[in-house]
């Protein structure tokens, strides 16, 4: 079950990308998402694709994991590709069958959009594959820190996120146990029409919720006894370190943006 989890997909390693500070990686990915939209011709899209492949090489992540990450959006990818092919009516006709015509511009746009999709999925996957969830949470907390001024409870959000992540495997085990207990009493979770299957989920959810609340209460007690009083006056065990790698990667990103602006039509 865990292998399919999006957060469980972190692959420890020691590559250049792994060693980057989560803050620089997060900034990089968000900026990259915007930069992707600068591309509008063959050269710029080619450049993006090459750059993405370069990042993947740097991260030393096996392509298999990235392709896996692509699977959930594959339908969307094919769908947008087809939409562009069918509905764009510019340029020369490349294919004709009765009233059904495919134009050159349509094919081009379809390919562009597909590249955009793939590039975005790959780069965000590299982020989650090379950064542990706890580092991502730390990074988000520090990056959102300025928003404390507008009363956004940044520390609480980050703590909530890290506790949620920590309890995912625990609750998964629990679900598994309850499922087996209910199956042992003759509940059939996998067969029958949809209505029956939804009904079978109820006796699974109720005990799960009850135990989750019990856990939450215990955890709150344990946290209070260990002196948790909110974010005020807290120190951090995990130190984030910004070094030359992080500066370089952001400089490279700016250079890429400049190049894209220069090359776009």
């Amino acid at each position: 079950m865990m292998e399919k989890m999006i957060f469980g997909r972190y692959i420890p390693g020691d590559s250049f990308v792994h060693r980057l500070d989560p803050r620089s990686k997060l900034v990089f990915v968000f900026a990259f998402i915007i930069i992707v939209f600068l591309a509008n011709n063959t050269i710029t899209y080619g450049l993006l694709l090459a750059f993405t492949l370069f990042i993947i090489l740097l991260s030393r992540i096996r392509l298999y994991f990235l392709i896996n990450g692509l699977k959930p959006v594959l339908i969307l990818l094919v769908f947008t590709f087809l939409i562009h092919i069918i509905f764009t009516r510019e340029g020369n006709i490349v294919f004709e069958l009765g009233f059904f015509k495919i134009y050159e511009e349509g094919v081009r746009q379809g390919i562009y959009i597909s590249i955009r999709f793939v590039v975005l999925v790959f780069v965000t996957s590299v982020l989650t594959l090379t950064t542990s969830p706890i580092s991502i949470t730390d990074g988000i907390e520090v990056l959102l820190n300025p928003l404390k001024k507008v009363k956004l409870p940044v520390h609480e959000l980050a703590l909530m996120m890290s506790i949620a992540l920590r309890f995912i495997p625990t609750l998964m085990d629990e679900t598994d146990k309850i499922m087996k207990a209910q199956m042992a009493r003759g509940s059939d979770l996998s067969a029958g029409p949809l209505k029956d299957r939804i009904k079978a989920v109820v006796p699974l959810l109720v005990p799960l919720f009850v135990s989750a609340f019990k856990r939450a209460e215990d955890l709150a007690t344990a946290m209070e006894v260990r002196g948790y009083r909110g974010g005020e006056g807290r120190t951090r065990y995990r130190k984030l370190k910004w070094d030359w790698r992080d500066s370089i990667s952001l400089v490279v990103l700016i250079a890429l943006a400049a190049l894209l602006i220069y090359l776009r039509t």
């Binding site: 969830p133 625990t170 856990r215 002196g227 120190t235 065990y237």
Partner: protein, 281 residues
Amino acid sequence: MSEILSFNNVSFSYTPEVKDARKAVQNVSFTINEGEWISIVGHNGSGKSTMVKIISGLLFPQEGEVHVMKNVLTEENLWETRTQIGMVFQNPDNQFVGATVQDDVAFALENNGVPHEEMVKRVHTSLKQVNMDSFLNHEPHHLSGGQKQRVAIAGALAMRPKILILDEATAMLDPQGRAEVLNTVQELREETRLTVLSITHDVEEALLADRILFMNDGKKYAEGSPQEVFSLGDKLVEFGLELPFAMRMTKLLKANGVSLIGEHMTEEELVNDLWTSNFNK
């Protein structure tokens, strides 16, 4: 010997507005001195858990006073007092806050604003004290129950508490995990003379203590060394507490005509008496 913790005629009721309501804790007094190991035993609903909540300042008694390090526990000094009390709870999973072992041990230190360098040092030393220093980056779901409880002990030790409170800390563990945790506590006591208060309904665990407090129905029924308390014998059984295995065995042997001298707390004593019993005839 200086006093670490004491209850002074403490009473507590969950429903103070109801007249003559049953009190969860009734007029309980006791004192724990530095370096002692005290066990509070009693069956479910005897007020053990309520007492823990009172010590940790989660509940405040309606009558009486709680002294920690000779200071009365109040709302004002609550947070400071909590830094001197290390607690380990029953469920190993529900007290693991951090994403990894070291994060969890550091949690209390973070809360109390300990500087980073000091934090790293303390995390390492306290994990070493419970022999979990090779598990620094492990995630909780890859640890056994006993290991998680040892991490919880390390988390408590990191604050350098005056007293370690084990609130049924071994109740949810398998025999191996239980032995692991109890061995760790015993080793800690040998090294540091740490004061321990363990709340339990496991009699074998209670036997390890210097002194036992037997709670029944919110009242302190008996207090004394394990020998003294368990010599009450059938009275304890009446209140739903099991006697130690060696004691039950002694009783059965005596009933079957084996001549034994006195009651025996531990298996070792019993065995010694058994193999020498014929010489004494």
